[in-house]
């Protein structure tokens, strides 16, 4: 029981000399650790910088990859292409969550009527986790329109979204499944013993707990999805990498690739830090 009254910091406590000496030593040692870390970091940076600039090919690399003029010239086009990457990501992400959760739930169905669904879910995760994402993009991008069915999308970005959803949906389904299986069987037993059906148990007891647990790994998959939107370039829509390729081909200078890389980093780093933050928070909660 939480008894806030008895756990409050006592007023009649003055630190003993022994404790004050301890704290002085701790401060001194943490100050020393700080300076050591700073010095060693500076040394490493200087060494790395020297290693690159002293290499025989450096003048050439600087000219072809780090050309400020080319950088400025390519930036507007690559940036406008990058907006398409963000659009693809924002549409694909909720679709992937939906597909992943539905497939994970299908794998947990027990009734015999649902056997085909369960089997389909297993085949789906096996196939789409096994095939490289870039191949799926080719197969969907060129194969789907070739079927000539009424209503099949022909827009390249849409085809890319479908391909990414199929590929990432399989991974996310496995993440959800792991989360569902990590909920202790006694939770299911408690829910079923109260007379809840399998579906009600999943809906109200198992899935809510599972989802909370898999948020950090899911975000990790989304960091990866953000950069994999560039793979859609292979079937042709004018997103960031495609725009960079066009500039590279026109000027025989690779700096536009650097522009694209920087944009992707700027997008993924906040997401990665957010993932770390959530993981640390759930760690703190568990150790409470």
């Amino acid at each position: 029981m939480r008894n806030d009254e008895s756990l409050r910091l006592s007023d009649d406590w003055t630190k003993s000399d022994r404790q004050l000496e301890r704290e002085r030593l701790r401060r001194r040692s943490s100050l020393r650790s700080g300076s050591v870390a700073t010095v060693s970091t500076i040394i490493v940076i200087v060494l790395l910088f020297w290693l690159f600039t002293a290499s025989p090919g450096w003048p050439r690399v600087r000219e072809t990859f780090f050309d400020p003029e080319q950088f400025a010239k390519a930036l507007p086009d690559v940036l406008s292409g990058f907006l398409l990457n963000i659009k693809i990501f924002l549409i694909a992400e909720p679709l992937i969550l939906l597909v992943g959760l539905l497939v994970a739930l299908a794998r947990n169905l027990t009734a015999p009527v649902f056997f085909p669904l369960r089997a389909l879910a297993v085949v789906y995760t096996d196939v789409f986790r096994g095939v490289p994402t870039i191949l799926i993009i080719y197969l969907v991008g060129f194969g789907l329109p070739a079927l000539g069915l009424q209503g099949t999308p022909t827009d390249l970005a849409t085809l890319g979204i479908i391909a990414l959803t199929l590929s990432y949906g399989a991974y996310v389904a496995e993440v959800f499944r792991a989360g569902i299986e990590s909920v202790h069987p006694s939770q299911r037993a408690a829910a079923r013993s109260l007379g809840l059906s399998h579906g009600q148990t999943m809906r109200h007891v198992v899935v809510p707990q599972a989802v909370r647990r898999v948020v950090p790994p899911l975000l990790n998959d989304f960091v990866s999805l953000q950069k994999d939107t560039a793979l859609v370039a292979t079937i042709g829509p004018l997103e960031a990498l495609r725009q960079a390729q066009i500039h590279v081909a026109g000027n025989f200078n690779y700096t536009p690739y650097l522009v694209a890389a920087l944009l992707f980093i700027l997008l993924t780093i906040p997401m990665a830090r957010f993932t770390d933050y959530l993981a640390a928070r759930s760690q703190r909660r568990r150790s409470q």
Binding site: A189, A191, S193, L194, Q200
Partner: protein, 247 residues
């Protein structure tokens, strides 16, 4: 007529028989206490009655209806009894109030307002009225177990199964949980419970059953079992309990 009637119940785990032909009758308003060493089959017996385990042979009847029938609706049977576990098994992502009202609302179709009113009445009755909005990890073990008992009561069961409900609690908290069970008996609830609290068992049980190696070896009043056991194995067990100062 018996409320619960068990006949020739067998349960096997990996080629090992945990229950070997158990026969047991429980009358309405009767409190039956199962005692015996760990692994004697007490908990398995309760889990079989709740249909969390499938019996390998024999029949279990509730109100004369055979619930071991393979065509029976499990959810329907479970709605008529409540089970409470040693480890509480509250739902950690729900408040106390939601833990209690989930089954009435979802499985019994009771409206939210009515379910919450009933839950608050129960919480009030067992001294937990101020904890309705708390999450399970904000409660002491004793409070958690009391909530688990209330959760099982909220569906108004005909029969309560209590499986070592005080074993995970420290002595100071055991008392508050035993108090609830005592109150249930006064209210006429039919209960089957397993416990290591022999003093409590002696006080509350109408009938004590001693299980040994999956066999219901002896059945009698608490007085008879604890002072004049017929079977040698029962005598040994009771003696070991007295030696450990648990009686």
């Amino acid at each position: 007529m018996s409320l619960l009637s068990i006949e020739g119940l067998w349960k096997n785990y990996r080629g090992h028989s945990v229950l070997r032909g158990i026969d047991l009758e429980v009358d309405p308003h009767e409190v039956v206490c199962l005692i015996g060493a760990s692994g004697s089959g007490k908990s398995t017996l309760l889990r079989c009655v709740n249909l969390l385990e499938t019996a390998d042979d024999g029949t279990i009847r509730l109100d004369g209806e055979e619930i071991t029938d393979v065509r029976i609706d499990l959810n329907d049977v479970r709605k008529r009894m409540g089970i409470v576990f040693q480890a509480f098994n509250l739902f950690p992502h729900m408040t106390v109030l939601d833990n209690i009202t989930l089954a009435p609302r979802k499985a019994h179709g009771v409206g939210r307002r009515q379910a919450e009113q009933q839950a608050r009445d129960l919480l009030d009755r067992f001294g937990l009225a101020d904890r309705a909005g708390a999450y399970p990890d904000q409660l002491s073990g004793g409070q958690q177990q009391r909530v688990a008992i209330i959760r099982a009561l909220a569906t108004q069961p005909r029969l309560m199964l209590l499986d070592e409900v005080t074993s995970a609690l420290d002595p100071a908290l055991v008392k508050e949980v035993l108090g609830i069970i005592r109150e249930l008996k006064e209210g006429g609830m039919t209960m089957v419970l397993t416990t290591h609290e022999m003093g409590f068992c002696r006080e509350i049980a109408d009938t004590v059953c001693f299980l040994d190696g999956g066999v219901l070896l002896e059945r009698g009043t608490p007085e008879q079992i604890f002072t004049d056991p017929r079977e040698a194995r029962t005598r040994e067990f009771v003696q070991s309990v007295i030696d450990a100062r648990r009686l």
